[in-house]
Symmetry: C2
Subunit: 185 residues, 2 copies
DNA sequence: TAATTAGACAACAGGCTGTCGAGTAATCTG
DNA sequence: CAGATTACTCGACAGCCTGTTGTCTAATTA
């Protein structure tokens, strides 16, 4: 029986955690490997056993987060034969709440714009199922309308996450459906 | 007559230009002062006469861009007693086109998320004049709706800029007004 | 013409990065 | 259970980048 890999995983997790605590406080370009390993309690060289550089740590965290999102979408949302927007929104908002600490940092002012792009790519197929228009749009117009809703919805969800004293999911969903999206659902 | 300041300004402009050429190609954290000054044809130390660090160069470029935008808004748009959304949009799109190279980089995947925030703050007062809702919204709801449109419109404009072969301003404005925003104008 | 100022630079100290080889502890094998 | 092997961690090194200081040159001023 091999017990070592657990040590490795624990070490990686500790380093990721230390990185994340720093990343929530200061921009990534000010963070040094020494800061991270000091905080995690390892030698600086140990960092390089598990990560290529500091951006690799961030990438792993992002990949993991997008994986969770993708699983949710593929397993719970895209399978339904009669999709319901409110239900989809509710499910998504629960996930957003659970990972709000990460989302708020990654999508915030010190965050990673590339993450926002990837996030939107993952969400795109869901929006496709609901977006309609009065008038028949050209492919180009449809793509732009899609981009509008994708960015708008993502931003409004982030704004909602930023205000923990604000609306509950039960209040927020009908607001989105009735007041924000009423034109194109 | 003092001719020196012109030399200074030219030097700064050369350094800014060299930085920008690099920034369009690679992420800012990979850029070194040496790269910039080599490209601009100065000694590395000269850089520090005019800029605090590399982020200071970016900040100056961003400030300048937001200044231009703010001037446009204060002088041409907010003064009108009977504002017209289509006209505002058209004026804004001309500016966006003129500076599209900068906007596309700053608002793109390798860009600066803080710039997007500041950009939206500058645009906010304009949107305030046009955004309405069927139902009376609470302040919290109104803020969220505002955020939705601000982010959505900015993203759709960026998507439009990315596609130079795409719609003209004359085609794009009515699309925005009639197909995208029809619910809340 | 002499003094002052602006502009540019070479050189230095200090910090961070990425790597390599050595050391220690845990696991496997005969 | 003893010796070999593997997993894991660390100290140390070379090289690059940063930010600053003092110096040199050329232009401006008096």
């Amino acid at each position: 029986m091999n017990k070592q890999p657990q040590v490795t995983e624990q070490t990686k997790a500790n380093i990721r955690q230390a990185f994340w605590e720093l990343y929530a406080q200061e921009p990534i370009e000010k963070i040094t490997v020494k800061q991270i390993t000091d905080r995690a309690g390892y030698n600086r060289a140990t960092f390089y056993l598990y990560f290529k550089d500091i951006y690799d740590v961030l990438a792993q965290i992002e990949d993991n987060l997008l994986d969770v999102l993708e699983q949710l979408i593929n397993r719970r949302l895209l399978r339904e034969s009669e999709p319901d927007f409110s239900e989809h929104m509710g499910v998504f908002l629960e996930l957003a709440r659970r990972y709000s600490a990460q989302f708020l940092v990654l999508l915030g002012d010190r965050g990673d714009p590339a993450f926002a792009s990837r996030f939107k790519q993952v969400l795109a197929p869901i929006l496709d199922r609901f977006l309609v228009s009065e008038r028949a749009l050209s492919p180009r117009e449809a793509a732009l309308l899609h981009e509008f809703y994708l960015s708008g919805l993502l931003s409004v969800v982030v704004a909602w996450l930023r205000d923990p004293q604000g609306m509950t999911i039960a209040e927020f969903v009908p607001f989105i459906v009735n007041d924000v999206c009423n034109a194109h659902l």
